[in-house]
């Protein structure tokens, strides 16, 4: 797997030394494609990192001559070691956050059923998302170590505290709902607790609404504050995608759970979410395209998920417009919206991980921005220096 002329002295290797030699560039990129070719040829040897990801893709005609050489096609950076639990957390956490807002809105406007359903959804969501988070740790039994420090430079630390705050208020609001649901005596200790809960209900609802937007938005920072090219470069658009996604997902869930008579505001919330998400996602894609980083969000499994998410978002949005009269339409649109949100989260997480695996997406944009800075006469901030 070299471009050395000495290779001609070696015994032939079943015709895979297909050298492209068009000057220096050709040789350099030839090395890349050779490496990629080698990777492809070696498939089935069980060496995971060798035949992982787009070894073959680097050979695809859609990719013009690579402008750089890589180290045997290996990734330059490492993807986060997160599996499905993290996008699942993003989805469920988004539902929880949106439900928290809906719950407070419902409480303020006296929509009882909506309030109860969304509060219970928020609590269930925050519990499930916490469980996903803990389960994805390499050492789940040490999850409490997150609470030993508050670190503003770490979105995960900040997020843990946001999630904890939200969970605390959700716990109180859920307790009041349970107290209202379960028959209990007016007097005695249970009665005292119920009256206490009634008293803290309003402050807890405000607290829940206060923690909900950060809970919905911080997850975008969580992803962007990494070096995975797609996430890092999406840092301006991703928060809007994610709050939009949280709004439409939580609204979708309430459209499924709550009769249409009480979900008028929820449908408006859903439509605002749909509009925000579609616009933000469009701008995100445009921005990635400018950086030639759009491949991970357009192709492969991630691309397919994001495309389906868009279809479901639009369908769910249209359905929401009509859902005022029919519960069946409301349920169907709600499910479509929730599904769209889940797919968006999975798609974005997978696209980021894909972009971290392939050196093209790390080296390409970095070289381009380096060249741009050099062309503009900025050389003082280069990692590579001479003398």
């Amino acid at each position: 797997m070299t471009t050395s002329p000495f290779d001609s002295y070696r015994p032939p290797e079943e015709g895979r030394r297909r050298r492209r030699r068009s000057g220096v560039r050709g040789a350099v990129s030839g090395a890349v494609s050779d490496a990629a070719q080698g990777v492809a040829d070696r498939a089935g040897r069980g060496t995971s990192w060798l035949n992982r990801d787009g070894g073959g893709r680097r050979e695809a005609p859609a990719v013009p001559d690579a402008e750089f050489s890589s180290y045997y096609g290996r990734g330059v950076i490492k993807p986060v070691p997160w599996d499905y639990k993290i996008p699942a957390y993003l989805f469920v956490g988004g539902v929880a956050a949106g439900s928290g807002l809906i719950a407070t809105g419902a409480a303020a406007t006296g929509r009882e059923l909506l309030r109860r359903n969304s509060r219970l959804t928020a609590m269930a969501g925050v519990a499930v998302s916490g469980a996903f988070l803990v389960a994805d740790l390499g050492r789940p039994e040490r999850f409490l170590n997150m609470m030993r420090t508050v670190k503003l430079t770490s979105p995960m630390s900040v997020g843990t505290w946001i999630l904890s705050g939200f969970a605390a208020f959700s716990g109180v609001t859920t307790a009041t709902e349970v107290a209202r649901l379960v028959p209990h005596p007016e007097h005695g200790p249970l009665g005292v607790i119920a009256r206490l809960l009634d008293a803290v209900d309003a402050p807890a609802a405000v607290g829940q609404a206060f923690f909900a937007p950060p809970l919905a938005a911080y997850t975008a920072v969580l992803l962007s504050d990494t070096v995975a090219p797609v996430w890092f470069e999406s840092r301006r658009e991703l928060p809007f995608v994610f709050v939009g996604s949280a709004a439409l997902a939580s609204s979708g869930v309430q459209m499924v759970l709550t009769p249409t008579s009480q979900t008028g505001p929820v449908r408006r919330f859903a439509l605002l979410g749909v509009a925000t998400e579609l616009v933000a996602m469009h701008r995100l894609e445009e921005h990635l395209e400018e950086l030639e980083l759009d491949e991970p969000v357009r192709t492969g499994e991630a691309g397919a998920k994001l495309r389906l998410a868009k279809v479901l978002t639009i369908a769910g949005g249209l359905g929401t417009l009509l859902a005022g009269r029919s519960r069946a339409v409301a349920v169907a649109s709600g499910l479509a919206l929730a599904g769209a949100s889940a797919l968006t989260r999975f798609g974005m997480v997978e696209a980021g991980i894909e972009s971290a695996k392939d050196p093209r997406f790390t080296v390409g944009p970095q070289k381009r921005r380096l060249e741009e800075r050099r062309a503009a006469g900025t050389v003082h901030d280069s990692t590579v220096t001479v003398r």
Binding site: M1, T3, S4, P5, V24, A27, A31, T47, W49, L50, F68, S69, Y71, R74, V76, I77, K78, P79, V80, P81, G105, A106, T109, L137, G138, R139, R142, M146, R148, T149, K151, T153, S154, P155, A212, P213, A217, A220, V221, D225, V227, A228, F232, P239, V243, A246, P265, L272, G273, T276, P359, V363, K367, L370, V379, D381, S382, T385, V386, R387
Partner: protein
């Protein structure tokens, strides 16, 4: 710069920033890849000293590199690249371009050993045509040497005269200082480079760690406390160099009791924190037989690196360049400085690494807007309906 601003980007001394009072001087490596012989003694010494488990035993087919790359159980990694003449030429061209761009010099202005340097902007000036132009220090520059004097079966007089003529007429090109080269480019070369954690001034891994498991030592290095880390894996995605990794249970023990320590926990080079505490050199630097890995105060390392790159340029190795020595780069300079003989990506290093947290303020600002928008949307959805 203020204390807070210093935390995320720009020039700074990391140990005092992390709260160390009167810390010892910052330590670092200077890895001179031009004298590395690829013996992998550093890899072995690191494995041995730190009792790292086995992380696979496979032949990769990538030259002599069967290690692959840095990882949870590989804290030093020797890269091997085989290059043919055209790639050497490309490397040399890119090196000359860096010089022509007027890349910043690091530290004090250069006082080259051979006397004052001629203007380096115009490449093949003086020396090109002038027959008598001998190098400043009386040494011939460049690859190869003049053929040995004809004893027994030495080269023919004709060859000698042709070669002499070629050298005197600058047929082999000139160094960046305009000294004619004495020999043609070799047809082939090895690049060997021992890679390691960069111990960044602004370390993404450390910034994002939510548990505080990663910390800045008094020597300015970045170390994981394995008993604190809960394996969230965030640091893995935040390292611009793909260094740190979470250890999986596929690692095989090298101990008699079959135990693999720290599974599920992030691991990387500690810059031999334990040895530094006892005024010992890191195991890898201690063992390196060629002094390719030098250890010491970072400032001294950068000075040594600068001297070396000047020396190599004088000898005609125009492709020599430094990596990580510039404190104005995206990570505020690295503790481990490298001398490379080609573009960084050839060795699997990112050409323009940026610590993601340097953009954290922007990310939180966007998330703040998005969150505010979400709150406003919820309010509009509920209040809008009441009217």
């Amino acid at each position: 710069m203020g204390y807070l601003a210093r935390q995320l980007g720009g020039r700074t001394d990391p140990a005092p920033d992390a709260g160390w009072e009167e810390p010892p001087s910052r330590k670092g490596f200077f890895t001179d890849t031009s004298i590395c012989i690829g013996c992998k003694a550093c890899e072995v010494a690191c494995k041995e000293w730190n009792a790292l488990p086995l992380d696979g035993l496979e032949l990769s087919g990538n030259s002599y590199d069967n290690t692959g790359g840095l990882g949870a159980s590989t804290w030093r990694h020797v890269a091997f690249v085989e290059q043919s003449q055209d790639r050497i030429e490309a490397a040399r061209e890119s090196g000359r371009r860096l010089v022509d761009l007027g890349m910043p010099s690091v530290g004090a202005p250069s006082a080259a050993p051979g006397g004052s340097l001629p203007d380096r902007a115009g490449s093949p000036q003086e020396g090109a045509g002038g027959g008598q132009n001998l190098p400043k220090n009386g040494m011939p520059a460049g690859y190869g040497t003049l053929p040995a004097p004809p004893e027994d079966h030495g080269p023919s007089l004709g060859d000698l005269l042709t070669e002499k003529d070629a050298v005197e007429n600058g047929a082999h090109g000139t160094t960046v200082d305009g000294t004619p080269m004495v020999g043609p480019l070799p047809e082939f070369r090895w690049l060997m480079a021992s890679d390691v954690c960069k111990h960044c001034t602004h370390a993404g891994c450390l910034d994002v760690c939510p548990t505080g498991a990663l910390f800045r030592s008094e020597h300015g290095t970045v170390v994981v406390q394995a008993d604190i880390c809960n394996g969230c894996g965030y640091c893995v995605g935040a390292c611009p160099f793909g260094v740190i990794e979470r250890r999986t249970d596929s690692a095989a023990s090298v101990r008699a009791d079959g135990h693999v320590p720290n599974v599920g926990v992030a691991q990387k080079c500690t810059l031999c924190y334990d040895r530094l505490q006892h005024d010992q050199r890191p195991a890898c630097a201690q063992t390196c037989p060629t002094t390719s890995i030098r250890f010491g105060e970072r400032e001294e390392m950068v000075a040594a690196a600068r001297e070396r790159v000047v020396q190599l340029h004088e000898q005609g190795f125009t492709e020599a360049r430094l990596y990580g020595a510039n404190e104005d780069d995206g990570v505020g300079g690295t503790g481990s400085v490298f001398l490379l003989l080609d573009e960084p990506e050839v060795y699997g290093l990112p050409p323009d690494p940026v610590c993601a947290t340097s953009k954290l303020a922007e990310m939180f600002r966007m998330a703040g807007w998005a969150g505010t928008g979400l709150l406003a949307a919820a309010a509009a959805a509920f209040l809008g309906g009441r009217r």
